[in-house]
Symmetry: C2
């Protein structure tokens, strides 16, 4: 191992002088860019005037071919539903309450998260529009004096009503300042700068990224550490493809000190910029590929959904509450579907969200082993969800919703267009039947399939995660994760596979000269507090098993039989899927039957079933033990929402879904929560270079004897009169 101590060696004064100037410029520029580092303490942070997000917005607005975005001023928002997120006024109140609290008065502190503390479920279930608003509370995670605290701020009284010091192994999610600190810390370090010079990178071309370092034993404990790796932006905006391989800087996020610099990549060239650019504006127009005529989803009578009071969505037979969340990204609450027979709204899902991600890379070497991301708890899946690009991220008929989050000092800022909602029609068929002529019945009936999509896209560094909640009129909810964005690649000396002694030792695929796409997995774990026609539900495993017939019973030797097993306790519901011993997984309400006596239910229909194959005792797998099974069911517990634990950063795995479930609590006919993990194995291929075509997987929540009959039986077919008359914009 080639370690460079952080002390100065040699005389490089001139270079330092130049670097200092550059760094000064860089710092000024960075600091001006961030809303969470405001110099003034305005009540409302005008992100549209000062933030990096705003730069993107302006770029868009300058482009006359794009539709300008609805720019809602959130300063006068008031909460209208008990689950509505904190408003700007509420964030500011929390900020003031915290600032004057004894704990924080005299010491510098950082707020790692500020968000709504949802009222008790029982209160929310009883509440309806028109009732008095339930008391509003905020949950605050703060660090002061090297300690982490969880506080409850009562917004009505303006008091801190709960204050708890947290002694678990992990730390709260990083703030953007943490990331910023990490990125800039190496620049103060002569050893680092010398290495950069050695690698012939102009510091002006340098971009460094904060890489959560996981937890790998004692040496890394009791300090909030992060690893920083750097790239060259020379000749490309796609710096991810130009890694300064092998250079890893360990930084203490609390002291802002560089702890260690390791450079093992000095004989690895930085890959060339050729073919890496993906921006349209930078493209070579002669090679442009305009191969498909424009196509658009058009709704002549307008969309069929409404957004009431900012967060309640009503569409077709569905109603649900939708809010952006800094950690989960998007939270769907109180999803209810109308019964076509009785007309009543029936409960399906009390709360659904992305709970945690786990993204282990499959390279055990020094600069890579620690890359085992848990994006929601470490980076914030919502705070990394950038504004969606109208017409390209979502179709023309989309509605956009902003997120309002708090910076590290508590100041609110607006994440504009973070979520979109639209009706989708891909030309698919809801149901159909055509009668064979042999019956003599001239029947041809078909219904188009139209759905409602709620979308967000989180850009957690290089990767882009597209999360869709798709509601179907037949009662099905499809939860889909799309992976796009840019690979995390590794530099190598090889320019052709014929130079590689053992191809398996690449830990991935040679994508281009000197670029390896490293094998990795993605696991996205969803929290699904199902309330099927009420809170008390049971989990039933319906095993499909082969039954041999008795001699003489039948000309058949075998058939499949469905055997129902009701889970009594949590261990009965720790499910590893089996291909050759398949089951259906029902969440039923044992207290409510259909007319002919089937318990009403929803089933989770697994897909994206890739499982984590790491050693159970491997540190990253212990922290991500929630991926040990694809399905879990736990009793409802307000404190058990984040599958990797509340404090995931550098956690040691003592507070995960796996540990809670180990208690083996009763789950039959109780308020229970379903957890499902979507998994992907990703062996990169050249098509993923320099930016990846989206790969998606989804799982379904599907009604199973929930309705008496097909709930879309009575939908009318589409006729020509229903459709719009359209013209090419240029011809109008």
């Amino acid at each position: 191992m080639a370690k460079i101590e952080t002390e100065t060696r040699g005389n490089l004064r001139l270079i330092f002088l130049l670097l200092s100037v550059l760094l000064l410029v860089l710092f000024t520029w960075l600091n001006l860019s961030y809303p969470y580092m405001p110099s003034n303490k305005a009540e409302i942070l005008d992100s549209a005037a000062s933030s990096q997000w705003c730069v993107s917005t302006n770029r868009l607005l300058k482009n006359p071919t794009r539709r300008p975005q609805r720019n809602h001023n959130h300063s006068s928002d008031t909460p209208l539903h008990p689950l509505d997120p904190l408003t700007i006024q509420e964030f500011n109140k929390v900020r003031r309450v915290v600032a004057s609290h004894a704990l924080f008065k005299s010491k510098p502190y950082v707020l790692h998260s500020v968000g709504l503390e949802e009222p008790d479920k029982s209160l929310v279930l009883r509440w309806k529009y028109g009732d008095l608003m339930l008391p509003r509370r905020a949950s605050v995670v703060a660090r002061v004096d090297g300690r982490s605290y969880v506080l409850t701020v009562d917004l009505d009284s303006g008091r801190v009503t709960r204050q708890e010091m947290v002694s678990s192994s992990g730390y709260p999610s990083m703030t953007i300042e943490d990331m910023n600190t990490a990125m800039s810390a190496p620049m103060n370090c002569p050893g680092f700068n010398r290495t950069i010079m050695d690698r012939r990178v102009d510091p002006a071309d340098l971009v460094c990224l904060p890489v959560s370092s996981g937890w790998y034993g004692k040496s890394e404990e009791k300090r909030r550490l992060i690893k920083v790796q750097c790239y060259s932006t020379k000749d490309t905006s796609n710096f991810y493809m130009r890694p300064i391989e092998g250079l890893t800087v360990l930084v203490d996020m609390d002291t802002h000190q560089v702890v260690e610099i390791v450079d093992q990549g000095r004989n690895i060239p930085i890959p060339k910029a050729d073919n890496t650019e993906y921006r349209y504006s930078a493209g070579d127009v002669h090679r442009e590929m305009k191969i498909v005529n424009p196509i658009s989803l058009e709704q002549p009578k307008g969309p069929s959904f409404t957004v009431e009071n900012g967060h309640t969505i009503r569409w077709a037979n569905w109603e649900f509450h939708l809010k952006p969340d800094a950690r989960a990204g998007v939270i769907i609450s109180r999803a209810m579907v109308r019964d076509p027979e009785s007309g009543e709204m029936r409960s399906v899902l009390y709360k659904g969200m992305t709970s945690e991600l786990f993204v282990p890379y499959m390279d055990p070497t020094d600069a890579w082993y620690f890359k085992t991301y848990m994006d929601a708890g470490e980076y914030g899946f919502g705070s990394q969800a950038m504004p969606l690009d109208p017409l390209n991220d979502c179709p023309r008929n989309a509605y956009y919703m902003d997120g309002v989050f708090a910076a590290a000092d508590g100041s609110p800022y607006v994440q504009s267009n973070m979520v979109c909602v639209y009706e989708s029609y891909a030309g698919d068929i809801g149901w159909r039947h055509e009668e064979s002529p042999i019956t003599g019945m001239p029947i041809r009936e078909a219904r188009p399939k139209v759905t409602l999509v709620v979308r967000m896209a989180a850009s957690v560094g290089n990767y882009d995660y597209i999360v869709d909640w798709e509601f179907q009129a037949d009662g099905l909810i499809r939860i889909k994760v799309g992976l796009s964005g840019i690979l995390m690649v590794k530099g190598t000396r090889y320019t052709n596979t014929n130079q590689v002694p053992g191809a398996e030792d690449l830990y991935g695929t040679l994508l281009s000269e000197n670029v390896i796409g490293v094998i990795h997995d993605h696991f996205v774990t969803f929290y699904l507090d199902m309330d099927v026609d009420g809170s008390d539900n049971s989990f039933v495993k319906v095993n499909l098993q082969r039954q041999q017939t008795s001699p003489g019973e039948s000309p058949r030797r075998s058939y499949l039989k469905a055997v129902r097993n009701v889970a009594k306790t949590e261990k009965d519901a720790q499910i590893k899927l089996k291909l050759y011993s398949p089951s259906e997984f029902h969440m039923i309400n044992p207290n409510k039957m259909t007319r002919v006596g089937n318990p009403v239910g929803y089933k989770v229909v697994p897909a994206g079933t890739a499982a984590s194959l790491l050693d159970l005792e491997d540190p990253p797998q212990k922290r991500a033990a929630f991926t040990n099974n694809q399905i879990w069911v736990t009793p409802y517990n307000q404190s058990e929402e984040w599958a990797g634990g509340l404090f995931v950063y550098q956690s040691q795995g003592e507070d995960t879904l796996a540990t809670w479930s180990q208690r083996n609590r009763p789950i039959e006919n109780k308020d229970i929560v379903l957890w499902y993990t979507l998994g992907f194995h990703h062996v990169p291929c050249q098509e993923d270079f320099p930016i990846m075509p989206t790969v998606s997987s989804s799982f379904d929540l599907k009604p199973v004897n929930f309705f008496e009959i097909n709930p879309i039986l009575r939908m009318p077919p589409t006729g020509e009169d229903d459709l719009p008359v359209c013209k090419d914009a240029a011809s109008v």
Copy 2:
């Protein structure tokens, strides 16, 4: 077992008189309806004037809200590509050649199939538009004198150039006359009529269906048998929900005789018609559910694809040949994709089609055990594909293609609008990346995902199979099967589950009073003659396996490693998928490398992985042994296209993919064929009553190091100017 002999007992003369009149009416009506039973021998069968299909067409045309269909007159069609299907003139020539052939001159014969005999692959590969047309040949399957023959008719010389008597256990696909014969045979049988009276069914309300009887041992051998089961159409068009349970009539299709009548259902009521109707025209308008505003896929500049010479489709970077087929449904040939760097068209798939289906029901009792359908080889997946319903089966921007098939006497008829082709846009994202503000780069790039869909829908009796071939500009082909239509249900005495002693013994789910939805599986096996950049390919299993690290090697204990195994012979490529020992399955061209040395390839990405769990020695599983694995690879052999054998009806399983593959031929660096089976387990639920919301599964053929870089990198984003200006039709 209560068996009623086919002789007359008792005196029921009056009833017989009445029945005879009814039967006469029924027969006349049925015979008038079918194009394949023409009384005149016109050169072109005008199906638009005489067929049942035509009734449907007329019904549509009468409805002013639907767009009238393009009604192409096929009588002057000429073949322009060696793979073009037989034209009407060619069908007529075949009919004349066969009629004057020695074998058929003096005896009644039936043509079970007439279709193009594709020229040698090597010739087709060399052929291009502008070249002389290759010699045209037809392949004919005929039965005469109780024997089956396969003939080749040379269309240029007008001679039969091959004539082969087939001695395998199976029989050719049924003709529509076979089905018709089967349906009407019981009506001549007093025992049957008495039973119908006993069950209180008015013969005027009776509909019977021909159910392929499978093969279950000696008693059913050496006769072409079929089982007939009947339903009541009283008060509903959805007679499938009103089974006359337990009544099974065994019919000899060659002698037209009833062999046996079994009635074990006399104490089972016929379920009521309540809630079974699904036709819009019959609906109760007050309960209509108009919950979604119209939505349409609009293309202001028109579609981006062209149909050249009737069958060659060009879209975006794709080109392929498309034809309807009476057995396979749809055949995709010579699919090629343009390389964005070189501009050349590169071969991906020489031929792809649905090869066979296997649909075993999971009820071993007398009236159900034999229901183990093989829809393509028994019924004809294409000949059961009815006209698509514009705006409901396919969106407004769809193009429709007709099928031209031959009736049992060789007369051609047109299956109009059997296939549709359209561009789809669901609002999804082709690729995206947004730069985190921490890098200071204001980047937000996204591209909408537009695809091309080729669709057909086969209504094989009750079930509707929707088969989509979806082409993506990123090189991916998605093959999707949607299941809709109507369940095959079983009558029962039970009206509530609380009356059922052991719920597992229902063999299904109580869906409504007296109606059980029986558990069943669907397997759809695809033939995929991949030619990745040429015909000689290899199959590579890339195993993702856990690698433990050595002590001291890494803070990590484990990681996943990709280990490549090239299949040498067929047995290496008999793949049972494994959840916890996952693999990628590549079809590579070992003779062609990318710039950095990866073999160019495509991978099959499995999904819909339900496996058949029947006993391997169970007669239906022996016949459908091609479902013993999800993936197989065989050397190309023109005679190995139908996974269940050429003659599937009553086959004993001696000529399936499994037997061919057993030969264990070499497959490395050879012209090879990939087989993939999509599987579904279906435990019915009440939502499937009375007609099923579509359930879909799909698998992908995905480029893997086929392109040097992401092939859609240079696609432009959509701007507002690209989109149409639309108005509500009513406002124009």
